[in-house]
C-alpha cells in the first residue's frame, strides 16, 4: 500500500504564480525518496506541502490512505528536519526533543524513555542538558533528527539537512543517515537535496523536479542509465552528459547517426524507417568515452586537461568551458593537451533524444 500518494497536486502563490502543477507520485512504506532539481524548482515547496506548512492549491495528498489536505501538520504523522536545524534556542537538547511529546501530553516516563532511546541512537546522551548554542553544527543536526525520531512519525521529511555542514562532516552525517534508515526499515523518508552524491547514495528512488513538474522518477541507476529526457540526462551525472546534434542515417535494431561535428555513431536503440533523417541529439557520458583510431563520436583538439589523479578530464573544442565537450579518461593524461583526439563509446552506452525525449523503448 502506498504510504503517501500525491495526485494532481499543484501549488500557486497568490492565485497566479504557479510553482508546481500536476504532481503525481506514489511512495511506498520504507522508501527513501530524494527530491532533486535546480534551485527554485519547488523542491522545498513540495516538501512543505507534504508537511502541511504550505497549503495545497490543487490535487489530493494522502498519507496511509487518508486525505490530509486540510489536516494540520501535527496530525499528519510527519516530522521535519530543517536545513537550519530550527532548534528551539531556549531549550536544552532534552527539552528540544521532548517538546512534541509534552504537547501531546505523553507521560513523564514515556517521554524520558523516548528521549533516551533517540539520544542513544544519535550519540547525544552526553549532551542532553546543553543548550543548542553550545553544540557543533553536526551535533545540532543530530538533535534536529532526534527531535523527529522521538515522535515516531510515519514519514520523515528532510530539507537539505546537510547543506550547512562542511564537506567531511557532510559525508559522515550522510552515512549516519543511511545507517539510521537501515535501523528503521519501516519508516518512510523524503529527502530534498541538490547534492548529486547524496541523492545517488541515499535514495531508493529519485524524483527529478523541473519546469514546475516531475521530469522523471526512478532508482538512481535507472536515472543514470536511462534518462527519459535531456533535462534528466544532463542533470544526473557529473560532469554532465555530452549532447551532440546529428541525423539518423540508418534505422533498424541498431541506429546509425551522422553527427554534425563530423563523427559517426552506432547506437543500440532500435528505430523505425519513419525516423530516417530525423534530427536527434546523441547523448554520451564523459566516462563512457574511450580513445579510438577508427570511427569516432567525438573528435577535436583538447583545449584543457584536468588531471585528478584517478582520471583526467579533457575539454574539447574552442568554445568556453560551459559549452565544451568533456571526456573522462582513466589515469593521468595531461600530455593530451593541445593534441587532436578521437573518442568513441560502446553502442549500448549511447543515448538518443528526439525533441528532448529519449528514443529508448521502455
Amino acid at each position: 500500500m502506498a504510504e503517501l500518494r500525491l495526485s494532481g497536486v499543484a501549488k500557486r502563490y497568490g492565485g497566479t504564480v504557479e510553482v508546481l502543477r500536476d504532481i503525481d507520485l506514489e511512495i511506498a512504506r520504507g522508501e527513501l525518496i530524494v527530491f532533486v532539481g535546480p534551485s527554485g524548482c519547488g523542491k522545498s515547496t513540495l516538501l512543505r506541502m507534504i508537511a502541511g506548512l504550505e497549503s495545497i492549491s490543487d490535487g489530493v495528498l494522502e498519507i496511509e490512505g487518508r486525505v490530509v489536505n486540510d489536516i494540520p501538520p501535527a496530525q499528519r504523522g510527519i516530522a521535519m528536519v530543517f536545513q537550519s536545524y530550527a532548534l528551539y534556542p531556549h531549550m536544552t537538547v532534552r527539552e528540544n526533543m521532548a517538546f512534541a511529546l509534552k504537547l501531546a501530553r505523553k507521560s513523564r516516563t514515556e517521554i524520558d524513555a523516548a528521549v533516551a532511546a533517540a539520544a542513544e541512537k544519535l550519540q547525544l546522551t552526553d549532551y542532553l542538558d546543553r543548550l543548542p548554542k553550545a553544540l557543533s553544527g553536526g551535533q545540532r543536526q543530530r538533535v534536529a533528527i532526534g527531535r523527529a525520531i522521538v515522535r515516531d512519525p510515519k514519514v520523515y521529511l528532510f530539507d537539505e539537512p546537510l547543506s550547512n555542514l562542511d564537506a567531511a562532516l557532510r559525508v559522515a552525517t550522510r552515512i549516519e543517515i543511511a545507517q539510521l534508515k537501515e535501523q528503521m526499515p519501516d519508516s518512510t523518508m523524503i529527502y530534498v537535496t541538490h547534492d548529486q552524491v547524496e541523492a545517488m547514495t541515499l535514495a531508493s528512488r529519485i524524483v527529478v523536479l523541473a519546469n514546475k513538474g516531475i521530469a522523471q522518477v526512478g532508482t538512481p541507476l535507472e536515472l543514470y542509465d536511462s534518462p527519459e529526457n535531456e533535462f534528466v540526462a544532463r542533470f544526473i551525472g557529473s560532469p554532465a552528459m555530452n549532447l551532440l546534434a546529428g541525423r539518423i542515417t540508418q534505422s533498424g535494431a541498431q541506429t546509425r547517426v551522422a553527427l554534425d561535428g563530423g563523427g559517426q555513431a552506432l547506437v543500440a536503440i532500435p528505430t523505425g524507417a519513419e525516423d530516417l533523417g530525423a534530427a536527434v541529439n546523441l547523448g554520451v557520458r564523459p566516462e563512457d568515452l574511450e580513445e579510438t583510431t577508427g570511427d569516432y563520436v567525438l573528435g577535436g583538439r583538447v583545449a584543457i586537461t584536468e588531471a585528478l589523479g584517478e582520471h583526467t578530464l579533457l575539454y574539447l573544442g574552442e568554445e568556453g568551458p560551459g559549452d565544451a565537450r568533456i571526456a573522462k579518461l582513466p589515469g593521468t593524461r595531461s600530455a593530451l593537451r593541445g593534441t587532436d583526439i578521437r573518442l568513441t563509446a560502446r553502442p549500448d552506452k549511447l543515448h538518443l533524444f528526439r525533441d528532448g525525449r529519449s528514443m529508448k523503448p521502455r
Binding site: 521535519m80 530543517f82 528551539y88 512534541a100
Partner: protein, 333 residues
C-alpha cells in the same frame, strides 16, 4: 523676534556649534598640535589618535559633570542640612522627619503600585499589540496609532485624560468620555473620578500605560520579527497551537528584550511626576515620590527635605538603571 524664529536660530546655532567644535578641534589636533609631518610624523599620528576620543567626548563629559554629577553631590549635601537653621549640618534628621510623614509613605506605597502595574501592563499590551499587528493587513496603521501617544508630552497626555475623566454637574451634558459612558451604562450620577480612592491612582496609571504601550510595542515588534521563522514552523509540526507557539516559542526567544523594555519603563515610572502633578497634584491619596519632592522643594521651600526625597528616588532608580544598562549591553554583543 517670533519664538519660532528664535527656536530655529537656536537650533542652527546649536548644531552649527557642535559641528564647528568637532571640526575645529580635530583640525587643530591634526595640523597644529600633532602634525603628521616631519621626523615625528608616525609618532604624532599615534598620539593624535590617542587624544581624539577624549576630544570628542569632552563636551559630553563636561555637560554631564556639570548637570549631573555636581547636582547629585550637591543634593546629597543639601539633604544633610537644615534650612531653618541657616543650612547647618543636621545629619539624617531630614530623612528621619520624612520617615515620620504619612504623606511620604503614601508616596512610597503609590510608587510601588505604579512600579508593579505600569511596566507589566505596558509591556503586556505592547507585546499583544506587536503580535497582533504583525498578523493583519492594516497592522501598520494600527501600529502608528498605538505609537502616536509617544509623541505627546506627559503633561499633554495628562490634559487629554483629564478631559476623559471630566465631570459636569448632574443634568448637564457630560464632556468626559468616562462619565458619558458611565451614565449611558446606567450609572446614577456623574462621578468625580479623580477623587475616588483608590481607583484614582489606577486612572492616573492608565495615562502612562497609554503612552508607554507604543514604545513597548515598537521594540517588541522588532524582536518578534527577529525570531527565526523555522523555529515557529518546527513548533507547529511538533503540535503547538497558536497560544503555545506564542508563549513557549516566541516569548522565551525575546525574553531578554522583554526585560529591557520592562526595566526601561520601570525607570520612567520611578520618575513619574508630570501626570500626577497635572491631574491631581498628589491629592486624594495619589501622591508619588517625585511630586512629593517637588512639593517639599518648591512649594514648602524646604530644600533639606526635598533633597532627601530626591536621594530616595535616586537610590531606587540606581540598581534598575545599572541592571538595564548591563542587559542592554549584553544584548548588543
Amino acid at each position: 523676534m517670533s519664538p519660532a524664529l528664535q527656536g530655529l536660530v537656536m537650533i542652527v546655532l546649536g548644531v552649527g556649534g557642535c559641528v564647528g567644535y568637532f571640526y575645529g578641534a580635530n583640525l587643530l589636533l591634526d595640523r597644529v598640535i600633532f602634525p603628521a609631518r616631519g621626523a615625528q610624523a608616525g609618532r604624532n599620528i599615534n598620539r593624535a589618535n590617542l587624544v581624539r576620543p577624549w576630544l570628542f567626548l569632552l563636551p559630553a563629559l563636561v555637560a554631564l559633570s556639570l548637570y549631573l554629577v555636581y547636582p547629585v553631590i550637591e543634593t546629597l549635601r543639601l539633604s544633610l542640612t537644615d534650612r531653618s537653621q541657616g543650612g547647618a549640618f543636621v545629619g539624617l534628621a531630614n530623612y528621619r522627619q520624612m520617615a515620620a510623614e504619612p504623606k511620604f509613605w503614601e508616596a512610597m506605597r503609590n510608587n510601588l503600585m505604579w512600579l508593579v502595574v505600569v511596566p507589566a501592563l505596558s509591556t503586556g499590551f505592547g507585546l499583544l499589540a506587536a503580535q497582533l499587528t504583525d498578523r493583519i493587513r492594516w497592522g501598520n496603521i494600527a501600529k502608528s496609532i498605538i505609537f502616536m501617544p509617544m509623541a505627546i508630552s506627559f503633561v499633554g497626555a495628562a490634559v487629554i485624560w483629564k478631559l476623559v475623566y471630566d465631570a459636569r454637574p448632574e443634568g448637564t451634558e457630560q464632556i468626559g468620555v468616562l462619565n458619558a459612558l458611565y451614565l449611558w451604562l446606567g450609572g446614577a450620577e456623574p462621578q468625580q473620578w479623580l477623587t475616588l480612592i483608590p481607583a484614582n491612582t489606577f486612572l492616573l496609571m492608565i495615562v502612562l500605560i497609554w503612552v508607554q504601550t507604543g514604545f513597548a510595542m515598537v521594540i517588541l515588534s522588532a524582536a518578534l520579527r527577529g525570531i527565526p521563522e523555522d523555529t515557529i514552523e518546527a513548533a507547529i509540526i511538533d503540535g503547538a497551537g497558536p497560544m503555545q507557539v506564542f508563549f513557549r516559542i516566541k516569548v522565551p526567544q525575546i525574553a531578554s528584550t522583554i526585560v529591557v523594555v520592562w526595566t526601561t519603563i520601570t525607570l520612567v515610572v520611578l520618575k513619574v511626576f508630570d501626570i500626577v502633578f497635572a491631574m491631581t497634584n498628589g491629592q486624594w491619596g495619589t501622591q508619588v515620590l517625585a511630586n512629593y519632592m517637588y512639593d517639599k522643594m518648591f512649594r514648602a521651600n524646604d530644600w533639606g527635605l526635598g533633597s532627601a526625597s530626591a536621594m530616595v528616588i535616586m537610590l531606587l532608580v540606581l540598581p534598575i538603571l545599572i541592571w538595564n544598562v548591563r542587559t542592554a549591553r549584553r544584548e548588543m554583543r
